[in-house]
């Protein structure tokens, strides 16, 4: 195991930024910490890096306690690499110097790397496709190139744990997509354990082996991207990751009666025990369907957003507003009275998936 967080809490004055955090980071694992701003995800990352110390609990790396409530090892004494949100490139050093710096100073460098420092610089530069720009200064690089240098600097000393603090959030949308691929490739190439902090659920779903969803300083759920997306165990995860509509009603076994209407039965085999106990059914926008067929839940279309491949509808049912994504086959317009059903096919495939899990 690369790192372990045991019962960690962190308070700033009376504000409890982290409470009762337990997390294992396995060898070679890509762990994404996902949550809205202020949920404590960056605090957790800074505890792993050693820029902050926990108020309670322990941080363990490679079977050695690196931080507890009494004391902690500073970052330069930990076997880590880090990519910062702002890239944190040194404005007075060229690309090559950036990569050489950790090779000169990192305290966990293997003998091979120490001997072949220049070779390693070239190797890493080629890995991030920056070999031809080695002499450039940070001010002469584009956003994506800066990001590559920041990545290269972090992986150069082959740290046991690579920490990434929203590394893509200062790039534009298109570049973000292509950098995702590059980070995935680097992960495969280096086999490093990665802890990746983000507030973008699609980034986490796309790249991580394991997602940790955090909210208000606590871990809400830990699981594979698929588990997190299709089997959320808390209303927060369902709405934050899957953008699900949280529908109230009554559960009877695997059957859900939305709004306690006995006439409508939804098959809720895939819904987790935790949400059933809260009398909720998490229906993601693509799981619902709008039609004029009666025998669904009656509602009125109040907003229509055309998206090209699909349309995002907002339907008002009683006091609530549901978001539903539907293809372009049938189009509805604002003010129309419609009926909402749970899509049959989707529930069935999910039932199957759940058996495999």
């Amino acid at each position: 195991m690369t790192a372990q967080i045991k019962n960690v809490g962190k308070s700033f004055g009376s504000f409890r930024a982290l409470q009762q955090i337990n997390l294992d980071i396995n060898e070679g694992e890509f762990v994404a910490i996902l949550g809205p701003s202020g949920c404590g995800k960056t605090t957790l990352l800074r505890l792993l890096a050693g820029f902050d110390s926990p108020t309670s609990g322990e941080v363990v790396m490679k079977n050695q306690v690196v931080a507890d409530e009494m004391s902690f090892l500073p970052p330069e004494k930990r076997n880590i690499g880090m990519v910062f949100q702002s890239f944190a490139l040194w404005p007075h050093m060229n690309v090559r110097d950036h990569i050489r710096f950790p090779l000169k100073h990192h305290q966990f460098l293997s003998e091979d790397l120490k001997k072949g420092m220049d070779f390693r610089v070239d190797e890493v530069l080629k890995m991030v496709d920056m070999y031809h720009l080695g002499e450039r200064m940070p001010s002469e690089l584009s956003g994506g190139q800066k990001q590559r240098v920041a990545l290269a600097r972090a992986i150069a000393p082959k740290p046991a744990l690579l920490l990434m603090d929203e590394p893509l959030s200062s790039l534009d949308a298109e570049l973000r997509m292509s950098m995702r691929k590059e980070i995935q490739q680097l992960h495969q190439l280096t086999g490093a354990s990665i802890v990746y902090v983000t507030h973008d659920q699609s980034e986490a779903l796309a790249m991580a082996d394991k997602i940790v969803v955090m909210n208000k300083g606590k871990i809400e759920q830990v699981g594979t991207p698929k588990e997190i997306y299709s089997s959320p165990t808390s209303p927060f995860v369902a709405s934050f990751v899957g953008k699900a509509n949280l529908i109230q009603g009554k559960w009877e076994g695997n059957v859900f009666y939305p709004f306690h209407q006995q006439s409508i039965k939804w098959d809720g085999t895939a819904v987790t025990e935790e949400l059933r106990r809260a009398n909720l059914f998490p229906a993601r926008p693509e799981q619902l369907e709008i039609s004029f067929r009666e025998a669904g839940i009656k509602g009125v279309i109040t907003n229509v957003q055309y998206q090209g491949k699909e349309i995002h509808y907002t339907v008002t049912i009683k006091e609530e507003q549901w978001v539903i994504h539907q293809d372009l086959d049938d189009m509805f317009s604002i003010g129309e009275e419609v009926y909402i059903h749970l899509k049959e096919s989707q529930t069935r495939t999910e039932k199957k998936q759940l058996h495999f899990v």
């Binding site: 004391s71 330069e76 930990r78 710096f101 000169k104 966990f108 600097r153």
Partner: protein, 571 residues
């Protein structure tokens, strides 16, 4: 491994904390405490006697009245000039703004007693201004500078750069959309300025005004040069005369007056700090330097002409008058080719022993003060920016007190603290050059702390963190990453400390002794003794040196930008 490492760090931290606390208490807290203590003590023990006797004295009230006139009058001049210049530079499309800014800062860079000397020469009976007036019809006389309004004018002109500095930043940070929104809503240019821009800029302007107010209270050079000959006293010169006069109870009286003056100054500083904090609340992050008022060519030229004549008349012309006075063989002779010589320069640089010693003393003091401040101040700035806490905030505040206190007050506190650091034991610090060094370091340390804080603020914390996760926290982090990035800012702070210490007058005038004269003091003594030709010559040398130093700094910073930060290749 973890335990031993942590133990060591904690032990080190304890040591540093103890050392720092001791340093602050001995050099910053004790002197002020002793001053306050003395003001309440008499032979019979603790009393209010000193206060009652000082406040019953008629001359005290006359002094307070004069001080009030001078401080309020000069602050009003400073505020009006400051706002006007700031508005023109921040918002209009005039050209050469950088050069204009340089000229605005000139009275700020040159010590105020030299500016005063320049003005007295400019306004003297056979000076430049008198010539100009004689060309006009009627029998106009130049202004008598040795008067209250003379003091007020020179002080106002010396302090308006403070108001300008604080206002121009505030004006630029007010989003232009706010004023545009008022215009779109139907308000005229003037109304939108009056109802939108001015209220938003007010905290910044008021804070600048208070800064001018404190600076006027503190100023010693101007009232000393202009007021003492005409028997016009303000609080700072009154305290000086008490100490130098060595009358009965003079130290207690001076201490009492100092506590009163110090209290007013610190209250002013506190209000100024509150206002500044308030003005920072409603500002956006970036300064918008694009002009907002685009004048036609003709209008622009008029404004430029007005502004430049004001700037040249208030800076260059007095300095040139001073230069011409210094080149004349004997005082009173007209400025004509046959009367010009370098003999005054020869005298102050080669013949007069006091002047030569003072050059050496001031240079030594300035260099050692700068080195001390550079190391300690940058260290404190680092702690202040990287580990902001109540403790470090308090540290910055305490270190700022000696600078916020008027120089005469600080000098008096220094005498009491170092004459007998432990009652009954006089190590001879007072009376040697050491007392000047200690006073300079305590007074100017805050300048370096602020300069270095600005430098550190410009380096994002992740820049340092990146060096740490790369495995480096000690020597190499500083050498390779932090120092190259902070050096330009740190050096400009150090230059400010160096020049301020080099030309210091107020503190030295009370702490000097035979053999430890400083440049400021020698110029003061020449002027008091009526040797205007020598004092002007010496002042010209100082001004030349200051301008040279700034010129070198500008070149160094350009080179640093190019060589180390490679900024020229960006575009």
């Amino acid at each position: 491994m973890l335990q031993s490492f942590v133990h060591r760090v904690q032990q080190q931290n304890k040591w540093w904390f103890l050392m720092g606390a001791l340093f602050v208490v001995i050099f910053f807290v004790v002197p002020i405490f002793r001053l306050v203590f003395l003001s309440f003590s008499s032979e019979g023990g603790l009393t209010f006697e000193n206060y009652t006797s000082v406040l019953q004295d008629r001359s005290t009230w006359k002094t307070i009245e004069n001080t009030l006139y001078v401080v309020v009058g000069s602050s009003i001049i400073a505020i009006i000039l400051g706002i006007m210049t700031a508005w023109v530079v921040a918002y209009t499309n005039i050209r050469q703004k950088k050069l204009i800014q340089l000229f605005i800062f000139l009275p700020f860079i040159i010590p105020s007693y030299i500016t005063t000397l320049a003005w007295t020469q400019f306004m003297s009976k056979n000076g430049f201004f008198a010539h100009l007036l004689s060309l006009l019809p009627g029998s106009l006389e130049p202004l008598n500078m040795y008067s209250l309004h003379g003091i007020i004018i020179v002080m106002g002109l010396s302090h308006y750069p403070l108001v300008y500095l604080l206002t121009v930043g505030v004006l630029r940070k007010i989003p232009r959309d706010l004023e545009y929104a008022a215009r779109v809503s139907g308000a005229s240019k003037w109304r939108s300025f009056k109802n939108i821009t001015l209220p938003l800029a007010l905290p910044g302007i008021a804070s600048g005004g208070f800064l001018a107010f404190i600076a006027s209270l503190d100023n010693f050079g101007i009232p000393a040069f202009l007021g003492i000959p005409g028997n016009i006293r303000v609080l700072s010169t009154y305290i000086y005369e008490q100490i130098v006069g060595l009358g009965p109870n003079s130290f207690e009286r001076a201490a009492t007056l100092s506590v009163i003056l110090g209290f007013i100054a610190l209250t002013g500083t506190f209000i100024q700090w509150l206002l500044l904090k308030k003005s920072k609340n409603n500002e956006t992050a970036v300064e918008d330097k694009e002009p907002r008022f685009l004048f036609s060519k003709r209008k622009r030229l008029t404004i430029e002409l007005l502004l430049w004549s004001f700037l040249l008349l208030t800076t260059m012309v007095p300095l040139i008058s001073m230069l011409s006075a210094s080149l004349i063989k004997a005082y009173g002779l007209p400025f004509a080719p046959e009367n010009i010589s370098l003999k005054n320069y020869q005298f102050v640089l080669l013949e007069n022993q006091k002047a030569i010693t003072s050059l050496k003393n001031s240079a030594n003091l300035a260099i050692i003060t700068t080195i001390f401040c550079l190391v300690i101040g940058t260290g404190i700035a680092y702690i202040r920016t990287k580990k902001p806490s109540i403790l470090s905030k308090g540290l910055e505040m305490i270190i700022g007190i000696p600078y916020a206190l008027p120089g005469t007050v600080l000098a008096l506190a220094m005498i009491f603290a170092w004459m007998e650091p432990i009652p009954g034991w006089n190590p001879g610090i007072y009376g040697s050059i050491m007392i000047l060094l200690i006073a300079y370091v305590t007074r100017f340390l805050i300048l370096q702390v602020r300069g270095s804080i600005t430098a550190f603020m410009q380096v994002d914390s992740s820049i340092e963190e990146a060096a740490r996760v790369s495995g480096s926290n000690g020597f190499f982090k500083w050498k390779k990453v932090l120092l190259p990035l902070i050096i330009p800012g740190v050096i400009s702070g150090a230059l400010l400390v160096f020049l301020t210490a080099l030309t210091e007058l107020t503190v030295s005038s009370l702490l000097w002794s035979s053999g430890t004269e400083t440049i400021g003091l020698v110029i003061f003594n020449f002027e008091q003794a009526g040797y205007s030709t020598y004092s002007t010559a010496f002042s010209c040398i100082v001004v030349l040196f200051i301008l040279l130093a700034f010129f070198m700094l500008a070149i160094l910073q350009k080179l640093w930008d190019r060589r180390v930060l490679h900024h020229d290749r960006t575009n």
